[in-house]
């Protein structure tokens, strides 16, 4: 059997004002359903092992977490090799509740943008207020990154984790390293 690899095979770049690294394969499960239903919440929290995030928030610890995608959609993160069993677990919890959970791990690219200037580099690319007091730890934002959709959150201090479509991974990587070129500091934040 062929072995799964991430979109850019773990490409990394650190010649500029921030470091761009493609994260290893990340298990991702899209869960859609009514959040008011206890089963939907339990399906997500039992697999991710974190609390249900509030609107526009993400609770992520290492490779596990839950991201709030929309009023009826969660992105459940878990280790890549546990996705299959986790989906079965979730479906068992959901029972006949109207809902959907599907493995989207291979449909996404994940990047880490890190360094003291990471905030500034990202702010060049997204129409989001990234001032340190406006975009804080725990927030999750889906938006437009130059010409493609992307979502991101602060994974650690000075490290943004960015999710994009796998087919656009090369574009996003190039975009990030262009925005992080040496000497391109803005010193705004």
């Amino acid at each position: 059997m062929s072995s799964a690899t991430s979109a850019l095979n773990g490409a990394t770049w650190s010649d500029g004002i921030a470091t761009v690294t493609e994260a290893p394969l990340q298990g991702m499960i899209t869960l859609r359903g009514a959040f008011s239903d206890a089963k939907v919440k339990k399906a997500a929290t039992s697999v991710a092992g974190v609390d249900m995030p509030g609107q526009g928030q993400a609770n992520c610890v290492e490779t596990r977490g839950i991201c709030w995608m929309s009023p009826d959609e969660l992105l459940v993160l878990c280790p890549y090799d546990t996705v299959g069993t986790n989906i079965e677990k979730m479906q068992a919890v959901l029972g006949d509740q109207h809902s959907l959970c599907v493995d989207v791990s291979d449909a996404r690219g994940v990047f880490d943008l890190s360094g003291p200037r990471a905030r500034e580099v990202l702010a060049k690319l997204v129409p989001v207020d990234l001032a340190p007091d406006q975009f804080t730890f725990g927030m999750f934002r889906r938006t437009r990154m130059a010409q493609v959709p992307a979502a991101f959150w602060l994974h650690e201090d000075d490290t943004f984790r960015i999710i994009c479509f796998r087919s656009q991974a090369q574009y996003v990587f190039d975009l990030l390293i262009t925005a992080a070129q040496p000497g391109s500091d803005v010193n705004f934040f």
Binding site: Q55, S70, P71, R142, T143, R144
Partner: protein
């Protein structure tokens, strides 16, 4: 710059994060309607200078639809409201009247 706040996910973004969905509150005339009604439904749109009601979709965000009332000249957004209604809320119309006395738009004023 037109800045909208999506009522479905609460995110505030500028225009390019959203997709304009055309005029709000159109009444559909389908098979069996008169030619005039059908023509009006298909082609006749408001093009006001001032208060306007539109549908928008948070295309790069949560993907949900909503309604927005805004001014076409100043880009001031008077209010955002649910997509699942057939007319703007009374309270929003009152707020617009405060800011733009005498406004009217189709059957609303």
């Amino acid at each position: 710059m037109l800045i909208l706040t999506c009522p479905n996910c609460g995110q505030t973004g500028e225009e390019t994060e959203f997709h304009a969905g055309g005029e709000a509150h159109l009444k559909r005339f389908g098979p069996g309607s008169t030619d005039d009604d059908f023509e009006g439904y298909l082609f006749m749109r408001e093009n006001p200078k001032g208060v306007h009601f539109e549908r928008w979709r948070h295309a790069y965000g949560c993907g949900k639809w909503f309604h927005a009332a805004r001014c076409t000249t100043t880009l001031e957004v008077f209010g955002i409201y649910s997509a699942q209604v057939t007319e703007p809320p009374k309270e929003l119309c009152d707020r617009i009247t405060e800011k733009r006395p005498g406004w009217s738009w189709r059957a609303f004023s």
